[in-house]
């Protein structure tokens, strides 16, 4: 594959700085999230110090209004963010890619209808859609948020997949492949998906970051996962109430969140430059 050869080319190497920083930031987040499965600095559910303590050697980021260690909560928040991002993108990708491929094969009329509907769905803001789905499910849970964000992402992915797949299907090698006896599903697996994957994966990384922000906004609004699950959005919402006495709490979770989202965006940039030879050269 040409994409692989180019990864050692000059332009790609220059931009791999974005890729390395992105990988480092996301990797750190994953490492912390996995670590919290085995051990955390303090018990996340019970007080381990005084209320609203300032940062100290014992509590690096201080404690919240119930005396719980703040760093522990932020670390668990990293896990929540990863679950939401991964889950939402997985749902969005599976529904979106399927719909997009089907639309690319559909008759002209059906394709037009699908394209128009997708445009309207995309115009409908993700956060409102998510708020509705969360409100529609009986109790707010992590899964209803993930489902809602996944559905919103699927519309975007479907539109992108449709355009990309149609472009691939017009190529001569598709006709060649068909003539040599490959079935349509075979063509999709062997030619369409591998060709659209580089662009799709960049989009997935971007959507991951957006899903993390959207989930934080939902929990900030009180529509996210209920209390035992720490989420950066809810941490920030609680800390806002005590911002006059303990401003650090209103800053730290935000930094963690921005680090993860920027990491994902840089990863997307890096992937784009490595995966797309034309883009790397033109710079």
């Amino acid at each position: 594959m040409t994409a692989l050869d180019l990864s050692s080319d000059r332009p790609a190497r220059r931009h791999s700085l974005a890729l390395s920083i992105g990988l480092a930031l996301v990797g750190l987040n994953v490492a912390v999230a996995i670590l919290t499965l085995f051990c955390t600095p303090y018990d996340p559910l019970n007080a381990s110090g005084g209320r609203l303590e300032a940062p100290s050697l014992l509590h690096w980021v201080g404690t919240d209004r119930l005396g719980r260690d703040y760093l522990t909560q932020i670390m668990i928040g990293a896990r929540t963010a990863l679950i939401v991002g991964t889950g939402a993108v997985a749902i969005g990708a599976s529904i979106g890619v399927t719909l997009g491929i089907l639309a690319a094969f559909a008759t002209r009329l059906l394709d037009d209808v699908m394209a128009a509907t997708l445009d309207i769905l995309i115009a409908f803001p993700t956060l409102l859609l998510a708020m509705l789905v969360v409100a529609a499910s009986d109790s707010a849970s992590l899964w209803s948020a993930i489902l809602a964000l996944g559905l919103a992402i699927s519309a975007i992915v479907a539109r992108l997949t449709r355009i990309l797949a149609k472009r691939v299907l017009r190529q001569d090698y598709i006709i060649a492949s068909r003539t040599s006896g490959t079935s349509w599903p075979g063509v999709v697996v062997r030619h369409v998906l591998p060709n659209i994957w580089p662009t799709l994966s960049v989009n997935f990384a971007l959507q991951f970051g957006l899903a993390v922000i959207a989930e934080a906004s939902l929990s900030y609004l009180g529509l996210g996962a209920p209390p035992p699950n720490a989420s950066w959005g809810r941490l920030l919402q609680e800390a806002q109430g005590t911002v006059y006495t303990a401003p650090v709490g209103a800053i730290a979770p935000g930094i963690a969140l921005v680090a993860l989202v920027i990491g994902m965006n840089l990863l997307a940039d890096g992937l784009r430059d490595v995966g797309d030879p034309t883009r790397g050269r033109s710079r």
Partner: protein
């Protein structure tokens, strides 16, 4: 003018409205049809979503332990005993008449409540929007023109950072700086008498507007930067320079109008996003706008309010899109001439 009848030498005649009208009129009609169609689809989506909400809407009218007869009566009153298609027709009918019903909780007409709330949300969104444009246009152009200088690169980096930051956190940070540390502005709240007291309203809106303006400017800068780059690389700019125009003359005379075409539709989308993104900002600063009305309605399961807010916001979003598309045609004559061909 009378001597030359060839295509190229009809200077003004072809620009007269009566000759141009059919195409642009057809476009407006077409675009209007799409607007109505989108509204219908939005109505279907709203209808389906609200049916998905748990429980019969009639429940809200009933007290605990109501008997079967009371339940039937309530269902009769709300209309939830009718077949689905009839419920849908009624729903669309009442939307078309802007009859959004009355709140389950307060009993007040939803339209009235929304009108009051809009006096907070619309100024908030528009002022934030104006601030964002005021920040983004000069900085975006600067970062494209001076891409090789350190500040050009700095502007793009900061705007990259800006899109990774959630709106509400920007709000919280601004509160930390301007309300907690500098004590310049209130950390939230809104004067009870609203616009009767303009000074206080503007004072209360200062930080929320700044929040929206900064976040929106960050994403806008990127679009304006790339639009400017397109203009800078264009043949017409080079031609203008070759004909003796100075760089800034060429940029102002030819660049702005050309660069504005893609930006207008982006601005439409951004304005719509801001209007709806106000939900979060209103929460940060405890403002009684449309967003907090929606949140409260969801918490209280006040379905008429939920439905009303969603319908009105969808309507606003679609209208903004409509206006942006028309504005694009006004700016760009090329799109106008092609107007009959392409719909969107």
């Amino acid at each position: 003018m009378f001597l030359c009848k060839s295509q190229h030498c009809r200077p003004r005649a072809s620009r007269l409205p009566d000759e141009r009208n059919p195409a642009i009129l057809a476009y407006i009609l077409r675009r209007f049809a799409i607007l109505i169609l989108s509204l219908l689809i939005a109505a279907v989506v709203l209808f389906v979503l609200l049916r998905l909400l748990p429980g019969d809407p009639a429940n809200a009218l009933l007290s605990v332990g109501a008997d079967q007869q009371q339940i039937e009566a309530a269902r009769e009153q709300v209309g939830s005993n009718l077949p689905l298609w009839e419920q849908f027709l009624r729903f669309v009918g009442s939307l078309a008449r802007f009859d959004l019903g009355a709140s389950f909780v307060s009993g007040k007409p939803v339209v009235e409540e929304i009108a009051t709330r809009l006096t907070v949300t619309v100024p908030l969104a528009l002022l934030g929007f104006a601030l964002a444009i005021a920040i983004a246009v000069p900085l975006g152009i600067l970062s494209a023109v001076k891409a090789n200088r350190w500040y050009g690169a700095a502007i793009s980096t900061v705007s990259q950072l800006g899109i990774a930051i959630p709106v509400f956190w920007v709000g919280i940070l601004l509160v930390t700086v301007f309300a907690v540390n500098l004590r310049l502005f209130p950390s939230g709240g809104y004067p009870r008498r609203g616009w009767q007291n303009e000074g206080q309203v503007l004072y209360a809106l200062a930080l929320p507007v700044l929040t929206i303006g900064l976040v929106m400017a960050a994403s806008l800068i990127r679009y304006i930067r790339s639009a400017t780059q397109d203009v800078l690389g264009s043949d017409y700019l080079r031609t203008a320079r070759a004909l003796g125009a100075s760089f800034s003359q060429a940029l102002i005379r030819h660049g702005i109008r050309n660069g504005a075409v893609p930006i207008v539709s982006i601005l439409g989308i951004e304005l719509a996003t801001t209007l709806l993104g106000a939900v979060v900002v209103e929460r940060v600063f405890a403002l009684p706008g449309l967003g907090s009305m929606l949140l409260l309605a969801i918490e209280q399961r006040d379905y008429p309010n939920v439905q009303g807010v969603l319908f009105i916001s969808t309507l606003l979003v679609l209208l903004i899109g409509f206006a942006a598309d028309l504005l694009q045609r006004v700016i760009d004559p090329r799109l106008r001439e092609r107007a009959t061909g392409a719909a969107t």
